[in-house]
């Protein structure tokens, strides 16, 4: 259990303070997660929309493997367990 110095008094008892962080970081990829379209900041409107992004009929998403690698590296960096499948 947590140290007692994390407690503050409440009307019916003590409250324990528990903090969690949810960190959102953009993957340093030059292409989108499910298409080859570029992610460059400040480009002309609609110049970075692929057929997949526009959900054209018959288009299929393909995962960006660079992003998968970054996710695995992040997991390893956090000493998390990586499931192969």
């Amino acid at each position: 259990m947590a140290e007692t110095n994390n407690l503050i008094a409440g009307a019916t008892g003590d409250w324990e303070i528990v903090l969690g962080l949810e960190v959102h970081a953009q993957v340093a990829s030059t292409a989108k997660l499910f298409s080859g379209a570029a992610t460059e900041f400040g480009a002309e409107p609609n110049s970075q929309v692929s057929l997949v992004d526009a959900a054209m009929p018959g288009m299929l998403p393909v995962i960006n493997w660079f992003c998968v690698e970054q996710a695995v590296r992040t997991g390893l960096g956090l000493k998390a367990q990586i499931n192969n499948y």
Partner: protein, 490 residues
């Protein structure tokens, strides 16, 4: 010169190679038949200029001695395949006059091998149907008639099957999600091949149920199916479910020798109320393969009875997700509304037909919180058991032989008001999609009304060579050479 539309794909190829006729002559002969065939409603768009341009290019290639495998052979394309610069609608109103700026991988492979495009073929809306009656362009009429009654050509690839049977194209592309190649082939006396899931790229084919959809050909002969598959199949990095595997010359597999082949007969396919004619034809097929040197083995696929219910949860679930994109914003037909939500609703209400709405609603229900585990997850578990049934059966045999359908072609309108009766058409074919296996329907005989009946062979995953070889033997033994009487040519 004999009628060039009487030729099958292999014969036409050989005739072109011997310069007995030109690709332009061959294409013109088919174009003339197509333009006189409006009574069948098989084509939803003819592309005569493109056809003649492609045929002229083929004649140049042939003259230069550079003929490609399908050089100069005119074919029809199911309207589910996106064709660059040529309207593609999946026969749904919601796509309006959508004209793709890209070409599907399968059709690109065919054009790259020299095939000539005659036009786009009718199908059930978004390939949802077993009779080609749900198309925005109206029903396709089967070239075969019984006692003067107009019949369905099967579905969803009804335009493809009718076009090949009526000789409005030497072959056609088609797609099969639950039987949509094999059932129409059986209803029209043609050969329909659904390859292993992953053999042909799905890129550029309008999606119905992504884990089940697979492209394949409808043709006159097994040899023609082998020729078409050799060109259609490829690995495509744009479709992560296509498999990186060499494409053999499937035609070379047609040795005619199946001595020692073990043919499994699944006892669960003897369904109630199956017409005696189909039962007898099945027995005939068993006898033909036995006479050719095959060994007949009884096998069991115990979960077969759960296949249709599982399919009619999985396929609509995937469809409801795949069809979410049709909102009237980026392409296709749009209905105006008072605000954006109303615009979506109006567009989808006007753009989708009844069967598509039915499946979107079933799918959305099956995937919704609270029902997901009871329906969708359960259906996936059943699917796994069905796939395992096949794995176990293939320990005892190499291919399976079954009827393709529980009946011959039925009259237009007969099952329109009864979706469940319509779904029963797929009882022998859906298991193959759920397991991702290859299957082929071969015309094997006529019923007492003079209508064609098909037998289905099911192979192991990527066992197309063995499957086609066996189908070739079955075709040879059946000697099916009946043709529909031409009542439709104007």
């Amino acid at each position: 010169m004999a009628d060039l539309t009487e030729l099958n794909l292999a014969e036409a190829r050989d005739g072109l190679a011997k310069k007995e006729f030109s690709a332009v002559e061959l294409t013109e002969a088919h174009m003339a038949r197509v333009s006189a065939s409006s009574a069948l409603n098989a084509y939803v768009l003819e592309t005569p200029e493109k056809a003649l341009e492609m045929a002229a290019e083929s004649d140049k290639k042939i003259a230069a001695g550079e003929a490609r495998p399908l050089e100069g052979l005119p074919i029809g394309v199911k309207d589910l395949f996106c064709t660059k610069g040529v309207r593609t609608t999946a026969c749904s109103n919601i796509l309006g006059d959508f004209t793709p700026p890209y070409e599907s991988t399968v059709t690109q492979n065919l054009w790259g091998d020299g095939a000539v495009m005659l036009g786009k073929l009718n199908n059930d809306e978004f390939a949802m149907g077993s009779s080609n009656e749900t198309s925005r362009f109206g029903p396709v009429v089967n070239p075969w008639k019984a006692n003067g009654t107009e019949l369905v050509p099967g579905g969803s690839s009804g335009g493809s099957s009718a076009a090949v049977a009526a000789r409005l194209g030497i072959a056609a592309t088609a797609t099969d999600t639950g039987g949509s190649i094999r059932q129409p082939a059986a209803f029209t006396g043609t050969v329909g091949l659904k390859p292993t899931y992953g053999r042909c790229s799905r890129w550029g084919i309008v999606a119905f149920a992504s884990s089940l959809d697979q492209a394949g050909p409808i043709t006159h002969t097994v040899r023609d199916a082998a020729m078409m598959l050799t060109s259609m199949a490829s690995f495509d990095k744009r479709d992560t479910t296509s498999i990186e595997r060499d494409v053999p010359d499937y035609e070379a597999a047609l040795t005619g020798d199946i001595k020692g082949l073990r043919v499994g007969i699944p006892q669960e396919y003897r369904v109630d109320n199956m017409p005696a004619e189909i039962e007898n034809l099945w027995q005939q097929g068993i006898d033909w393969l036995k006479a050719a040197g095959a060994e007949i083995v009884d096998v069991s696929l115990p979960h077969t009875k759960y296949a249709l219910p599982a399919y009619y949860i999985i396929a609509p679930a995937e469809a409801s997700s795949n069809l979410a994109r049709y909102d009237g914003v980026r392409y296709g037909a749009r209905q105006n509304g008072v605000d954006i939500d109303d615009m979506y609703a109006q567009t989808r209400a006007a753009g989708f037909g009844d069967e598509v709405k039915r499946r979107v609603m079933i799918g959305t229900y099956a995937l919704s919180a609270g029902y997901y585990d009871a329906y969708y997850v359960k259906a996936l578990q059943v699917r796994r058991l069905i796939a395992e049934d096949f794995t176990k059966a293939y320990q005892k045999c190499d291919v399976l032989l079954t009827p393709t359908t529980p009946s011959a072609a039925f009259p237009i309108g007969k099952n329109v008001e009864d979706p469940l009766e319509m779904y029963l058409n797929d009882v022998f074919t859906v298991t193959v999609n759920l397991a991702g296996l290859p299957g082929i329907s071969v015309p094997a005989g006529l019923d007492s009304d003079g209508l064609p009946l098909g037998l289905q062979l099911i192979g192991k995953a990527f066992g197309e060579e063995e499957l086609l070889r066996t189908a070739g033997v079955l075709e040879e033994a059946a000697g099916f050479d009946a043709q529909p009487q031409d009542w439709w040519s104007a």
